[in-house]
């Protein structure tokens, strides 16, 4: 049984929390450059140039890419042949607390949804855990912004609604979001499972690199088709009109009940701050 110490996890996670806030990931940078080539609207091109320049300034001056430095969301895969000495929860929470306090990141979390007092250190975090074969620990991190999160939707469709019902719901979610979630957006889709599993799948899908498709060709084709449909809405960068409204549609699916067709769409902004570490 391999042992990993709490402190080792804390240090590694803190490092990526900081990096994600300032350094736009390679996949999104490439996607923005490709979008600039493909955009037809002059306003849209000018917005995309601003976003590319924003990433350069953020990285050079260690200024956050976006003032909404997000809710820290983790997907953790724990190898069944490893053991954590100490607390995983404490390692992740403490990493976020230290990163946000030391690096002048915004504290965006309130302790209660109705009484709304800021916790002051951007904790707690959202942590999804699963167990996998092997002796490695994989931690996926995203600093999830509120503006795009607010435009997400869950629908409990009927099996008879079928593929067309699913596609329509996804395109409609993007259309309703319009300029609000800071387009160009990334559309995370979860199909199947249960009510909460669909939402979790959609969230997990926005962690996937832009440009990487579902390994199942059926879903990979659906991702490509939906990306064209969503971009044909004409909403464009920042919703001011143009070709490039979305950079990617990422779909994840899961078995579901004979009576159900759960569907969730999680919208991510262009400032997709995501990292993966394996210890």
């Amino acid at each position: 049984m391999r042992t990993i110490k709490e402190e080792e996890i804390l240090n590694a996670v803190k490092k990526v929390c900081i990096e994600a806030a300032f350094d736009l990931s390679k996949d999104v940078k490439e996607a923005l450059n490709n979008a600039l080539q493909a955009e037809e609207s002059e306003v849209g091109k000018s917005i995309l140039r601003e976003l590319i320049e924003n990433a350069e300034i953020a990285s050079r001056e260690r200024l956050a890419l976006c003032q909404d430095t997000g809710f820290a969301v983790f997907f953790v895969e724990i190898g069944e042949q490893m053991h954590i000495e100490g607390s995983l929860n404490k390692a992740l929470t403490e990493a976020v607390r230290q990163a946000y306090q030391e690096e002048f990141l915004r504290k965006s979390i309130v302790a209660d949804p109705l009484r709304r007092k800021n916790t002051g250190d951007n904790t707690p975090c959202i942590i999804h855990i699963s167990f996998v074969p092997g002796d490695k620990l994989t931690i996926m991190f995203s600093a999830k912004g509120g503006g795009s999160e607010n435009m997400s939707r869950v629908g409990m469709l009927k099996p008879a609604d079928g593929i067309d019902g699913v596609k329509n719901f996804i395109v409609e979610t993007a259309r309703l979001a319009g300029p609000n979630p800071c387009p160009p957006i990334i559309v995370g889709v979860g199909i199947g499972g249960t009510f909460e599993k669909a939402a979790q799948l959609a969230k997990r899908a926005i962690f996937r690199d832009v440009g990487k498709h579902n390994q199942d060709p059926f879903y990979a084709d659906m991702e490509k088709e939906l990306l064209v449909k969503i971009n044909n809405l004409g909403i464009g960068p920042q919703g001011l009109g143009g070709r490039m409204f979305a950079l990617a549609v990422n779909i994840d699916a899961f078995p579901c009940h004979i009576a159900s067709l759960p569907l969730a769409v999680n919208i991510q902004c262009h400032s997709s701050r995501h990292r993966v570490i394996t210890i």
Partner: protein
């Protein structure tokens, strides 16, 4: 068409602006988001004085990251405007002339913009590092306890925005999408 304007705004400036115009703003703007709006409207409801005069003012919907030592401000891009829709019509009625944010406004806000001659601008969401360079001064003027949601007075220079909703009832979000929809 690119226009340069000076804040605070007059009716004459507001009426010269049209949906789709690129506008560069110089001068003082207030900065407030959800919690500060709720407090301002609460004071108005109780018929008490506001900590700031709204006449001709622009409010920028922003909750910046803390400034590093030696910096005026941290990352400071626009937040989603629709969360301020509940509060904006009353503030417009009381003299507010401009709002900077991102995303759709409600019909009530668009109606108030037309009735009282105001304007809604969009700044680039997610360009907070770049935008921070256009803010040359800032101070908290009320509600410091709200942290990122405090009410601030900023001075901006070369601050780039687009006119989305003008005093004539035009809407860039509708026009732009129609132009490129297939």
């Amino acid at each position: 068409m690119e226009k340069r304007i000076k804040a605070p705004l007059t009716d004459e400036i507001v009426l010269s602006l049209h949906a789709g115009d690129k506008v560069i703003i110089d001068g003082p703007v207030l900065a407030a988001r959800d919690a500060a709006h709720a407090k301002l409207v609460e004071l108005l409801d109780k018929k008490e004085n506001l900590p700031v005069d709204l006449q001709g003012q622009i409010i920028y919907y922003v909750g910046p990251t803390p400034a590093r030592p030696g910096y005026v401000i941290g990352s400071a891009g626009p937040t989603t405007s629709s969360r301020m829709d509940k509060f904006a019509p009353l503030l417009i009625e009381r003299g507010l002339k401009g709002m900077i944010g991102k995303g759709f406004r409600s019909q009530a806000v668009k109606d108030a913009i037309m009735k009282y001659k105001a304007v809604y601008f969009a700044a680039t969401g997610g360009a907070g590092a770049l935008i921070s360079k256009r803010i040359i001064k800032q101070e908290i003027i009320a509600y410091e306890e709200l942290g990122p949601e405090a009410l601030r007075l900023m001075v901006v220079e070369n601050f780039p925005v687009y006119v989305v909703n003008d005093a004539y009832g035009e809407d860039l979000y509708i026009q732009g999408q129609q132009k490129y929809a297939r």
